[in-house]
Subunit: 310 residues, 2 copies
Amino acid sequence: MDLPAARFRIGELSRRTRVSPELLRAWESRYGLLRPERTSGGFRLYSEGDERRVRRMRARVRSGLSAREAASAALEEDSSTGHATAVSPALVEELDAALMAFDEPGAHSTLDRLFSAVSIEGAIAQAILPELRSIGARWAAETVSVAQEHFAATLIRGRLLGLARGWDEGRGPRAILACLPGEMHDIGLISFGLLLRSEGWRIVYLGQDTPLEAVFSALERSLADALVLASVERRRFRRAADDLRHVARGMKIAIGGAGATEAVARRLRATLLGPDPALGAVQLRADISGSSRGGTRIDLTAPVPGDSPA
Amino acid sequence: MDLPAARFRIGELSRRTRVSPELLRAWESRYGLLRPERTSGGFRLYSEGDERRVRRMRARVRSGLSAREAASAALEEDSSTGHATAVSPALVEELDAALMAFDEPGAHSTLDRLFSAVSIEGAIAQAILPELRSIGARWAAETVSVAQEHFAATLIRGRLLGLARGWDEGRGPRAILACLPGEMHDIGLISFGLLLRSEGWRIVYLGQDTPLEAVFSALERSLADALVLASVERRRFRRAADDLRHVARGMKIAIGGAGATEAVARRLRATLLGPDPALGAVQLRADISGSSRGGTRIDLTAPVPGDSPA
DNA sequence: GCGGGTGTGTACATAGTTTGTAGAGAGTCG
DNA sequence: CGACTCTCTACAAACTATGTACACACCCGC
């Protein structure tokens, strides 16, 4: 993972983080956020670590902190936690072993270490979702029992929900997340919400099996920038489509989960989210700021065939 | 995700607490409610502790105290960390107000205080279950909307699941808890689990919609002393009865939820749990140690008509 | 009931702070 | 040479501090 330390200049950092070069320099001189190397001619040379620090700073600012406080938080977090960027495969194996053995304390303690070793988002994207996908695959191949699958999904859902606090605070754009009526598979959607949150969004999470009435009510209240709907079954989208269509006008809608197809997306004038939640979060941000272009699908609801098995 | 001591300015505090900046300053100068740090330029910098204090103040004001008394109460509560044994009705009212107003941060902060004021079990038995029952009643009377009910149930389920850690550790008797296949109403069962846990039991929690296969698998592994099954619908018990009957031999079974009737209990040779989880926990302990006496029914799954509404 | 005092939330004017952005002029890189 | 970057300065918008004023409700003694 330590590649030969790629270095890039301010324009590149600006493009990657969507923070203007002027502002990057201001953050450096005012708050000491960055301490880039220099070329012999004096150009700044940044590393990926700098990029992460900028992202953290930006997320804090979006969550309502002043620039100065955001910078000091981003710097502090930098030094305090020796956050690795990659999850050790051993840890994922350990998680899998605990889940397969119905070892609840073991699984929780592994998850504790996972979350303290890397960011929550990293843990989700690099360990939890891959593990769930792996379980799903083995379940399909019948090398994992229904009981094991159910245990793993229930434990992980509880853990993720425990992380879902203060979702709606701060200042970023706001997304409303809901599973369609009848849909109980919510692990993918919760993961997506956590990743979106780390991108600076505020989340209004409506959960499993959300009555459309609750969706409308949330829309009326919350000045949302986007509505994200998920279901593994296409018929749920079809059933809800008519009611949702007249919402689609003023509102950016995104749909995900195995039931979300291109046809449904066209019908609702919605963005079709791809199978990778991390990419999906970026995609949604891009969509909001203008260009609408369907990328890969996000598998919002089915990292495990039955995360709430039927 | 817990940021290191984030400090924020008055506008952010205002947004978080929904109290105007003018009023925050007035509360500070008039009652000394807050004592924020200052930037070099003189801007106030608040902490999360300040935020909590404002929320407490606001809650007291809403419940009828004068501003001056509310402030002194909020300040006092700050210093006294002593565990009360009874939940203050004001706190329950505050929880209700936050839930009905879709105020997620407010609800979480009220729950935080609830849990820190009394034990988790006390909070559940004295505040959360009554509140859920009250919402259920008002939902039936149509003074609470589907959206409100769904919001409250989803938030509280997430919170309770977050408490469900290390359930299976220790040395007490062990109970396996599961909702029958298809059954999604699990808030009552989780509450029951938490109360049972506080009675010293170890809990194996299988969750919503548990395949019978997962139940059997857990039984084989765990040397359990009791099996607790819940459903709001009688047909789920009927459907599962045959498969469960031959389990009933070596195992103490208890059933609860609106679908659990005396007839079903007789058929499964199970104990019928009453509507009050706290009593139910005591009852189950008594049953295990010998005498089997059905008391009142535990409403394991329906403190809210649709805690996972369909 | 009725004036006057009090408690409380809100509004405003004026001054100062914070922060993102912009431009000039010179230098660097490929 | 063109595109990019450097430093320094400036500036405007948004926010905040302070102090004062005001509207309204409530309570009190009469």
